[in-house]
């Protein structure tokens, strides 16, 4: 039912209905900001990129033919907006080796209050730090996969990558993130019961 409502908003917004477009902004704002806030270096850049993404959607709506889903298109524009913002400020991270200081981004803490959530909350905090320490290309695919639940095909579509590159980045990003979490003591050291572990599955 929500999908039908979304389609109605999209159709109305394509005809210039700003109130319908505002509904789309509200529907997707958290998901878009969840991406830009982790791809940009500070909240101001993240907000700018998210705003730019929605502006680009508004301006491109007359051309939107639905070849990809609306969300795929939106995430693509959000990813592009992050790159644009970073490039504009000469701070694109691709070539930058991130150390812990760089990774210390002042974003709101998502700590959960219930006592039984403390452990998970601690792991989440470590994941946030680990994500921030990953190269952007790896961070991006992991966020699209884990936070936005996009399939490999959809990620390839959003980022204009081939499927093999998506698989490779997810594999490498996940391994790096896991390594960070292992080193921080969040995960127990994996069993070394088989020699295979050292070779293929580390």
């Amino acid at each position: 039912m929500m999908e039908q409502q979304e389609q109605k908003w999209i159709a109305a917004a394509q005809k210039g209905d700003q109130s319908a477009f505002e509904q789309l902004v509200r529907l997707y704002e958290k998901r878009v900001y969840a991406l830009t806030s982790r791809m940009c270096r500070n909240p101001a850049d993240a907000e700018e990129a998210a705003q730019e993404a929605f502006l680009a959607v508004w301006q491109g709506l007359p051309f939107f033919r639905g070849d990809s889903s609306f969300s795929t298109w939106l995430y693509r524009l959000a990813s592009n907006a992050c790159v644009d913002v970073l490039r504009r400020e000469g701070r694109h991270q691709s070539a930058v080796s991130l150390d812990n200081e760089d990774a210390a981004i002042d974003f709101p803490d998502h700590a959960l209050s219930p006592h039984d959530e403390v452990e998970r909350s601690e792991l989440r905090r470590q994941i946030e730090e680990g994500l921030a320490a990953l190269p952007p290309d790896y961070r991006q695919v992991l966020i699209l996969r884990e936070l936005h639940q996009r399939s490999y095909d959809e990620i390839a579509d959003i980022l204009s990558l081939d499927l093999g590159t998506v698989k490779s980045r997810i594999n490498r990003g996940r391994k790096r993130l896991r390594k960070i979490l292992l080193e921080s003591g969040n995960f127990s050291v994996p069993p070394a019961s088989k020699e295979t572990e050292k070779e293929g599955c580390k």
Binding site: G16, Q18, F21, E22, V25, R26, E29, K30, R31, Y33, A34, S37, R38, P43, E47, A50, Q51, F54, L55, A56, W58, Q59, G60, L61, P62, F63, R65, P108, H110, R120, L123, R124, I127, E128, R145, E146, L147, H148, S151, Y152, K167, I170, N171, R174, L177, R178, L181, L182, F187, P190, P191, S193, K194, E195, T196, E197, E199, G200, C201, K202
Partner: protein, 264 residues
């Protein structure tokens, strides 16, 4: 060792539900007997379980309101331009009608006056040169009115005369005048269609026009007919295009049509 290496490439697709049923069964069987691979999968699933949730994202204050304010701020000056151009458009139509009248009245004189059907000839056999002359004469007149005005930013966009724009024979002279010399909107007749602006793109622009069907095509150009709203969206896309371009500020009334000419 080799055995596990073979499975390493399947573990992430397993975690992400991207395996075929046969591969899934193979990996599950392997996990039952390989603690190391099992550990990787367990950790990945633990990461997933604790991964940040989009719905818990704390937004900047008044995020949606700020987005909408930016949209409205960008729309306001455009609407003002459109209103202004709307009036100019009426003026242009009046000029166009006057030109038509002159052409129709003058045609019998140029045809020697010996044929009784001279006016009809102006509208049929002499139609192409007549239209060409009309387009040229009208725009020349407008250029005269606006002489001395500051140049607009469409220096490379040119007003085509009727022959190439009609796309029928493609044999006419391409550029009649430059947009930069006339900030007024253009009334321009092509095969009975009146366009208010003509936008020229280099050959790279053809990708941006992929969603449209050309209204005509010849050896050198492809021509597309866009509504003002579509043309506005095209201009937005052109802002991020890799090739050089220049755009008109506000294509104007929503009822207008824009001719896009893409070089081959």
């Amino acid at each position: 060792m080799k055995y596990c290496e073979n499975f390493a490439a399947l573990l992430d697709p397993f975690i992400d539900g991207e395996l075929s049923p046969e591969e899934l069964a193979r990996v599950q069987a392997h996990l039952d007997e390989c603690p190391a691979c099992r550990s990787y999968v367990d950790d990945a699933l633990a990461i997933r379980a604790a991964f940040p949730d989009a719905e818990e994202t704390e937004l900047p204050e008044r995020f949606a309101e700020n987005v909408m304010a930016r949209i409205q701020a960008e729309a306001a000056p455009r609407a003002a331009v459109q209103k202004q151009r709307s009036r100019s458009w009426l003026k242009a139509l009046v000029s166009l009608a006057a030109c038509c009248a002159i052409v129709l009245l003058a045609a019998p004189m140029f045809s020697g006056g010996s044929k009784a059907e001279a006016p009809a000839a102006a509208a049929s056999t002499a139609a192409a040169p007549a239209e060409r002359a009309m387009g040229f004469a009208c725009t020349e007149g407008e250029a005269g009115e606006s002489a001395g005005e500051p140049q607009e930013n469409l220096a490379s966009s040119k007003l085509y005369d009727a022959a190439p724009a009609s796309g029928v024979d493609g044999g006419g002279e391409p550029a009649v005048k430059d947009f930069s010399q006339d900030p007024e909107p253009y009334a321009y007749a092509v095969s009975e269609t009146v366009y208010t602006a003509i936008l020229n793109l280099p050959s790279e622009g053809v990708e941006l026009m992929a969603a449209y069907t050309p209204v005509s095509e010849n050896d050198t150009v492809m021509q597309y007919e866009l509504t003002a709203q579509e043309a506005d969206a095209l201009l937005v896309q052109l802002e991020t295009a890799s090739f050089s371009y220049q755009s008109e500020d506000g294509i104007a009334p929503t009822t207008d049509l824009v001719l896009v000419v893409v070089s081959k």
